[in-house]
Amino acid sequence: MKIAVTADVHLRSREERPERFNALHDVLEKTRDLSLDALIIAGDLFDKDYQNYSEFEALCREFPGITLHIIPGNHDPGLRGQDIVAENVEVYVTPTVVELGSRRFLFLPYVGEKTMREAIAEVEFDPAEAPWALVGHGDYLGGTREVNPTEPGTYMPLMRADLQHFRPRVVLLGHIHDSPAHDTVHYTGSPCGLDISETGRRSFLILETNTWELTRQAIDTDVLFFSERFTLVPNEDEVARLKTEAQERIHSWGLSDGEGAKVRLRVEAVGFALDRSAISETLDGAFGDFSYYKTDGPNLDQLSVSKDVQLNRIAEEVERSIQELDYEWDHDDPTQEEVLLSALHVIYGEK
């Protein structure tokens, strides 16, 4: 049996946030098209303080063949089963073991000030009896080394030791809107980017219960957020180079025909250039087909002009030298762009 999994939809009214509704609609539509009959929503189905469920119920009725298994998240902790009258919706407000596809799924609703271990320990079931899957909403410390910038703090943490203790075969979590995977822990990610910090194409998970194999299915969203930053060094060819790089970035988005209109964009140029207006024009030209997110165009606040031939020559040398560094960049290291910016500040002084 295959089961679809998503989380962090953060529904508000359709009028207020149509793209979120449409993203969930697409998830349900694809779930139906793939002949799956279950969709798990691992918390934060609804946005904070939003309790109008009628539009969601209407959506569920459109897909009577799909049972939605929902747990409350930290944004909708008060969600109750009786709040939603659609027949094909199950809301688990207490830790509940449910058999799906001959496999045991432990649905663990979000409870503030509690760890997942504590919540699991309260459930009367034997984890060792048969393979099982955990569905929860919170932070997996084994994969979280950094503060979540949008929601600082620790939410219903799950620890590596818990995995060793309870040994679930797969853990499906909501809360982190990105979609990282660590060990057996998988974040499904939000089906629709909520803002410019959630960039790129979104997807949901499909779990094959026989093999516990997980695959991703892309979601056709109304909005695609992208944020591009260009670090520039003054150069006679700076415009041509920027044009090429901008085209490469756009190509990497993998847009299909007609998707350009969905793009909400943030573009920033930093560093130094010979001609600021030419840079501005180039970026305007390259990204002119797309809509900007909360701005009218590229942000050049951190871009300075230098006509000093000698300094610019040194800056070019440094750019090349940085690229040639025999350095193993790891996840804690700065990016090459950050190193270049640092070098530019030494060359040109703080601007």
Partner: protein, 708 residues
């Protein structure tokens, strides 16, 4: 058009007695004797136009005068630019707007205190640094390189890592990395801590055990209340039952009664056997007296006399006992008086009747035969018989008396025993045959009650609950000491496990608190604190790594540039701006080159005849001429051929009069090429030379005399 000063205003101060104001022309001569404020004026212009101090390109060693004023300069931006005491200076503005402007512009445009050399501290008056700045860009490289520490100059990136001495930036980065790793280690330890998992699980177990123990404690208190009530009931019941001693005493009485009854029965049996003999004794005594009379002998009155004496003795005894108050014995003694008296009378009567009657003898002998189964042959035999029978009769009489006494005692005992049974609740009408059963029953009741009390007391002692802690309501959990012991044992074991795990975790907690400098103790808050500390440490580490990698890469790039230094300087010295200036000023020397090796290289001027002279070896006057030419040439190079202003403070002071004329003429000629000249002097000869040159075009000349 070039860079021109349109107006100078310097407020009075120091030796400058009045505000200095000048709207300059192309050629400007400021004349003043000593102490008229000439130096003050020049230093004020330097401060207004050029960056001084650490940020400046050149240390002019200005005096500590508080100068102020305003200078308007055109040719930098659209419209004139005003320079005051604060704000951006000319050199900064030019660097921002002119490509490749070298540092040290003020060195080129200003000669102060007649010092024509470009750098007095260098043997050739110029120095490598100056040449690098203005000809090769190497000065710029050095300037940038000054932002790179020796630690990073010596460092390199190889095999994927930064390698360098553990000091400065590298040491700080290592410390940040270590901090980051420490934090990661702590996060990992929390994340994979079995102790933490165990503690939480054990704490939950402990809570469950405590809850069960609490239920049991309630059950215990409830049980204690119940036991207490039962004990009170049994104690009340016990009070109604006889004590063991009382039962024992009663048993003793019953035993005594039984013993007396048995004694009485035995005596009655013996008496029943003796009674015929007593009756036979009476007959035999009669027969004896009668027999005696019948056989001719007078009746023997011996027995009668004995009775008489016995009666008398009994009487005396009776009187004595009466005097002593012995009532019972008195009674017996009285009976004895009557009995012996009767017997005496009776014995005498018999003896009278039988005497002389032979028929009676035969009848008597026959009866004797019948009674005793032997023939009466003589009186002695009869007498012997009577003696025997008399003993039996006396015995019977004693028995009779004993039986009477026992009957009395038995009666009293029975009453007393029945009373006791009645008191003990066993019934007051019990027959002696029931007494044993009743005693057994009493004993059993007492034993049962005491046993119950004992058992309850033991229970009570084990419960050890104060009355104030009794619980009235049944908690629903039955009290079970074994379960309590078992649960307590498990709780002890669990808490030991918690303590051991916590001991290990306390170490971890302490390390985290120390690492993030917090007093928070909950694990979730410590995780957040660690994540925040990691974010800060990571930011620092990334910035430090970016800085180090940037500077190593920059140093590599600068090294690459340095390899082209010599060639660039040599090419620079051959630049047209410099050779043209040399030729224009004096005309004797036509080119410039470097001589010597390595760092000892010095500048050499080459004459038209290819004579090569070290710059330092020229005469002072010749040096003034050459340095003025070089100043002009380097300034043209620096400004890309654009003319500017020159401020010359007695720059030609040391030249001979012929050279002065040439120099003044050359300077004046420069104004035709867009240069603006400000010449400050206290020398009348030079004043006159300039005045003479200026008079040729009055509109292009301004003269200002400082009066002090």
């Amino acid at each position: 058009m070039g860079i021109r000063i349109d107006q100078i205003r310097v407020n009075r101060g120091g030796p400058l007695a009045e505000d200095f104001e000048l709207t300059p022309a192309k050629l400007n001569l400021i004349y003043g004797q000593n102490e008229t404020g000439k130096t003050y004026l020049i230093e004020a212009i330097l401060r207004l136009l050029f960056t001084q101090g650490r940020k400046g390109d050149f240390d002019w060693k200005l005096r500590n005068w508080d100068t102020n004023g305003r200078i308007l300069v055109s040719g930098i931006e659209e419209g004139p630019t005003t320079f005051g005491a604060s704000g951006k200076k000319l050199d900064q503005l030019l660097r921002d707007t002119r490509e490749g402007l070298s540092p040290g512009l003020s060195q080129l445009l200003v000669v102060k205190a007649g010092d024509a050399m470009l750098n007095r501290e260098q043997p050739d008056g110029v120095g490598d640094g100056f040449l690098k700045n203005h000809l090769s860009g190497e000065g710029l490289i050095d300037s940038i390189a000054r932002g790179i520490s020796q630690t990073l100059i010596d460092a390199e990136v190889t095999v994927g890592i930064i390698q360098g001495a553990n000091r400065g930036e590298i040491k700080k980065r290592s410390e940040s990395k270590r901090k980051l790793l420490d934090i990661d280690d702590l996060l990992h330890r929390i994340d994979s801590s079995q102790e933490l998992a165990a503690v939480e699980s054990l704490e939950e177990d402990a809570e469950n055990l405590k809850a069960k123990l609490k239920d049991l404690e309630q059950a215990k208190r409830f049980r204690a209340g119940a036991v207490h009530r039962q004990l009170l009931g049994l104690s009340a019941e016990l009070k109604k039952l006889p004590t063991k001693d009382e039962v024992q005493a009663l048993q003793h009485k019953v035993d005594e009664y039984s013993s007396r009854l048995a004694e009485k029965t035995g005596k009655e049996k013996e008496l029943s056997e003796l009674e015929p003999k007593a009756q036979a004794c009476d007959w035999a005594e009669n027969a004896e007296s009668h027999y005696s009379s019948l056989i001719g002998e007078g009746p023997k009155t011996g027995a009668g006399n004995i009775y008489l004496w016995l009666a008398l003795a009994s009487f005396i005894l009776t009187v004595a006992l009466g005097a002593m108050g012995q009532t019972t014995l008195l009674l017996f003694s009285g009976v004895g008086v009557l009995a012996f008296g009767s017997l005496h009378v009776h014995a005498n009567r018999k003896a009278m009747k039988t005497a002389g009657k032979n028929a009676e003898l035969e009848r008597l002998q026959n009866e004797y035969q019948d009674r005793f189964g032997e023939e009466l042959t003589n009186q002695a035999a009869l007498k012997a018989r009577v003696d025997v029978l008399r003993k039996d009769r006396a015995r019977a009489e004693l028995l009779q008396e004993g039986i009477g006494n026992l009957s009395d005692k038995l009666h009293r005992s029975r009453i007393e025993i029945r009373f006791s049974f009645g008191n003990m609740g066993a019934g007051g009408e019990l027959e002696p045959t029931d007494w044993a059963g009743a005693l057994t029953s009493l004993r059993q009741d007492l034993h049962n009650t005491l046993t119950k009390i004992e058992l309850l007391r033991r229970d009570w002692d084990r419960l050890n609950v104060d009355e104030s802690q009794f619980v009235e309501e049944d908690p629903g959990t039955p009290w079970d000491a074994t379960s309590q012991a078992d649960l307590e044992s498990k709780l002890d074991e669990t808490q030991r496990g918690i303590s051991e795990a916590q001991e290990s975790l306390n170490g971890l907690r302490g390390r985290i608190q120390q690492e993030v400098k917090t007093t928070l103790s909950s694990w979730s808050s410590l995780v957040v604190a660690l994540q925040e500390a990691r974010a800060a440490a990571l930011g620092q580490y990334r910035a430090q790594t970016a800085d180090i990698l940037a500077k190593i890469a920059l140093n590599n790039a600068l090294d690459e540039s340095r390899t082209q230094e010599t060639q660039r300087i040599a090419e620079g010295l051959r630049r047209e701006e410099i050779t043209t200036s040399l030729k224009a000023v004096g005309g004797h020397y036509t080119s410039l080159q470097r001589g010597g090796d390595g760092e000892d290289q010095e500048l050499i001027v080459v004459s038209r005849r290819d004579d090569q002279v070290h710059l330092g070896d020229l005469s002072t006057g010749a040096q003034e001429q050459v340095f003025f030419a070089l100043r002009l040439g380097f300034a043209s190079v620096a400004l890309g051929g654009e003319p500017a202003f020159l401020i010359l403070d007695d720059a030609f002071q040391h030249s001979d009069w012929n050279r002065r004329e040439e120099l003044v003429s050359t300077v004046h000629g420069l104004t035709d090429h867009g240069w603006q000249i400000f010449y400050f002097t206290m020398d009348n000869h030079l004043r006159d030379l300039f005045k003479g040159a200026g008079e040729r075009d009055q509109t292009a000349f301004k003269y200002h005399e400082l009066t002090g």
